[in-house]
């Protein structure tokens, strides 16, 4: 017998749960405190946005919402390495990356508040980004298509796409890895392993030891990082993005975290989550450890914390106000973006919808 191939999966963590660096030779960002403080603030923005979204939902002002509590370092971390002209193809719990790449908090609220204008991103940076793909794993394939267009045009851009660990059970995910490998596409696959696919624990999704190794079958570079360590997420994403932009092909990064919230506002995780998991999880969450690290380096204080929270909460509140004050679209909006040119028959239905709307 001959061994014809051998594989290994590397796991990277720089910052432990106590906010201590595990190496004397960390990536450059570990000493770039201005950058880390900005990322800390960006993670806090996502956490506070989720809190606000829950408050809006619980008071009947927002539809079902999927928070990303505990996973802020993943989306903020990888999207912070994206250039303006890189493209994000998000999944439904992807608000951290979306906001990092220019989507407004108001647009996030609009999407979950039942208004398509939440997908009409106004920020130039997000103009080519996909809206959330609700059917699980379909986004992985759209990302490969975007990357194929960039490749055919000879552009030095890349694509980031995120998926939950449960989503990696879908055929589309494997098909995307496969084609990205064959065509050497400039796409970075982020697996947000938050341990739960609604109520199904990570261990029931795969017999693999890691989700990262699913990429091995597609011939794609892959690795695991501590998804609660933004330094590790940032560093892995930075290298993968540079590789992708320069023709080096795709990478899969499995970011291990824990969902510290219910699946959505319509879920009650106490029905299935083991006792003690949340308590343990809150000790390892990403904001706490970065704050400890910044404090240990005399870069953060209670005063700065309060100033920062005031700033992000004002921003969120003004976005929430804009969302709540924005009148619903007129009924004809159902028709106005269906085709470049509306067919005659549908045009007649548009008249009917307008007449009905006028009576209400």
């Amino acid at each position: 017998m001959t061994i014809v191939a051998k594989f290994e999966i590397k796991y990277t963590q720089y910052l432990d749960e106590n906010g201590e660096l595990l190496t004397n030779n960390p990536p450059a960002i570990a000493k770039d405190f201005d950058c880390l403080k900005k990322l800390y603030r960006d993670m806090a923005l996502v956490r506070q946005m989720d809190i606000k979204a829950y408050a809006l939902q619980r008071t009947g002002k927002l539809g079902t919402y999927a928070a990303a509590t505990g996973q802020e370092a993943i989306g903020v971390g990888y999207a912070s390495v994206m250039n303006h002209d890189d493209v994000l193809v998000p999944y439904y719990r992807g608000q951290a990356a979306m906001v990092q790449h220019g989507v407004s908090v108001e647009e996030v609220f609009l999407f979950w508040g039942g208004d398509e204008r939440g997908c009409d991103f106004k920020n130039e940076m997000a103009k080519q980004d996909f809206p959330i793909a609700v059917p699980i794993a379909t986004q992985s394939l759209h990302a490969t298509g975007v990357a194929k267009a960039m490749q055919l045009r000879g552009e030095k851009r890349c694509v980031f796409t995120e998926i939950g660990e449960g989503g990696t059970s879908q055929g589309d995910f494997y098909e995307a890895l496969n084609v990205a490998g064959i065509w050497n596409l400039g796409v970075v696959f982020i697996v947000n392993n938050n341990q739960w696919a609604i109520s199904v624990p990570s261990g029931l999704q795969t017999a693999c030891k890691t989700y990262a190794q699913k990429a091995i079958a597609a011939g794609i570079d892959c690795q695991q990082v501590d998804g609660n360590d933004i330094i590790a997420v940032h560093e892995a994403a930075l290298k993968a993005a540079e590789k992708a932009r320069n023709g080096g092909g795709p990478t899969l990064i499995e970011c291990i975290s824990l969902r510290l919230c219910d699946h959505t506002t319509a879920d009650d995780a106490s029905r299935y989550r083991p006792d003690g998991e949340l308590e343990e999880g809150w000790k390892k969450e990403p904001l706490l450890r970065l704050r400890k690290y910044l404090e240990a380096n005399s870069q953060w204080s209670e005063v700065l914390e309060n100033e920062m929270l005031t700033e992000v909460n004002q921003l969120i509140q003004s976005n929430a106000d804009n969302y709540e004050n924005l009148a619903a679209q007129p009924p004809e909006a159902m028709f106005d973006y269906l085709y470049a040119e509306l067919p005659e028959r549908t045009l007649q239905q548009r008249e009917v919808a307008m007449a009905r709307g006028a009576k209400q």
Binding site: E116, T138, G145
Partner: protein, 326 residues
């Protein structure tokens, strides 16, 4: 100008548009060196290179998903699904994304893509290769679904499909791929989408069909003429969105209608056409609407497929019954 078949016309239209527009790329299973299992892409890779005529791995959802990503970047992908029977893994992308992206982004992202697929029975193909499931996509708002019935129409409609700013499902009636030839000028002139074509004018009855069944329907009109019945023949061509105005105009003239489809009868495009006529044109009707169709059965294996498909004599018989109705 040479006489070419329907499939050669599809090929000629793709080649014309690839020459004109560098953003047009063709991909699918076996479309490259092999030129497609039906030869729809024959010679395209030689002419335009491997970068623009791409053999994909064997995964239909991937083909549709990649087309969406490319089109969202402004390219114009023309993707092939080898047989319509295998389109269903891609249906999630076609229905849940192609049809919706312009609408859900309020026009920010649009998808100028074409997904081609041969469909229909009559060529003694294996299981899952012969169904007529076009109504599934005709039901989906946001899609355009186009079916050419002869070589000229295939050329003009394919050009229009590639140039259209919205996603077009282009279904090719494979039974008539090579059944007739037309002399077609390769001048890049397209045909309009979203309109029916009146193939033959008549006064006694309107025969409505699309795709391969147009072949039988045209023959039936000839036979009816010999019997003294003047049949108007309409090729629906674009089944979504449906040009009902042309159909209603014809019904107003003839007062009698026979719809001919290869697909099973229930919940099909013929049902929608009949309902529209009943809703908007019933006062012009001199006889109940008739339908000649496949049966509401699973498409049989090929030993029985001829028993499933409507034939010229069935159309003639039904048309005569409708014309004689008092």
């Amino acid at each position: 100008m040479k006489a070419i078949t329907l499939i050669e016309a599809v090929n000629m239209a793709m080649a014309y548009e690839m020459t004109q527009d560098k953003e047009v790329v063709v991909f699918g299973e076996d479309v490259g060196a092999n030129g497609g299992v039906f030869r729809a892409t024959d010679g395209l890779q030689e002419k335009f290179g491997e970068a623009r005529v791409i053999d994909t791995p064997l995964a239909e959802a991937m083909i549709a998903g990649v087309a969406i990503g490319m089109a969202a970047q402004g390219m114009k992908p023309v993707a092939e699904i080898q047989f319509m029977g295998f389109i269903f893994p891609a249906a999630d992308h076609i229905i849940s994304h192609c049809a919706r992206l312009r609408n859900r982004t309020r026009g920010r992202l649009t998808l100028p893509l074409v997904i081609r697929a041969p469909y229909g029975g009559g060529i003694h193909a294996p299981e899952n290769h012969s169904e007529s499931t076009e109504a599934i996509f005709a039901h989906i708002p946001g899609l355009k679904v186009v079916i050419p019935s002869n070589p000229s129409r295939a050329y003009g409609l394919m050009l229009a499909a590639i140039r259209d700013p919205d996603p077009v499902i282009f279904l090719e009636p494979k039974r008539v791929y090579r059944i007739e030839k037309h002399e077609i000028e390769d001048d890049g002139e397209d045909y309009p989408l979203g309109v029916c074509f009146v193939d033959r004018e008549g006064t006694d009855i309107t025969l409505i069909s699309w795709g391969a069944m147009m072949h039988e329907t045209r023959q039936a009109a000839e036979k009816l003429a010999a019997l003294g019945v003047s049949a108007e023949v309409i090729d629906v061509a674009t089944i979504n969105p449906l040009d009902i105005a042309t159909i209603l105009d014809s019904v107003a003239k003839t007062g009698r209608v026979c719809i001919v489809q290869e697909a099973p009868k229930a919940g099909a495009l013929g049902s929608e056409i009949a309902a529209e006529i009943a809703e908007k044109g019933i006062m012009n009707l001199l006889a109940p609407i008739g339908r000649v169709s496949g049966f509401d059965t699973v498409m049989p294996y090929y030993r029985l497929e001829k028993q499933f498909m409507p034939k010229v004599e069935h159309i003639v018989e039904e048309a005569r019954r409708i014309v004689e109705y008092k």
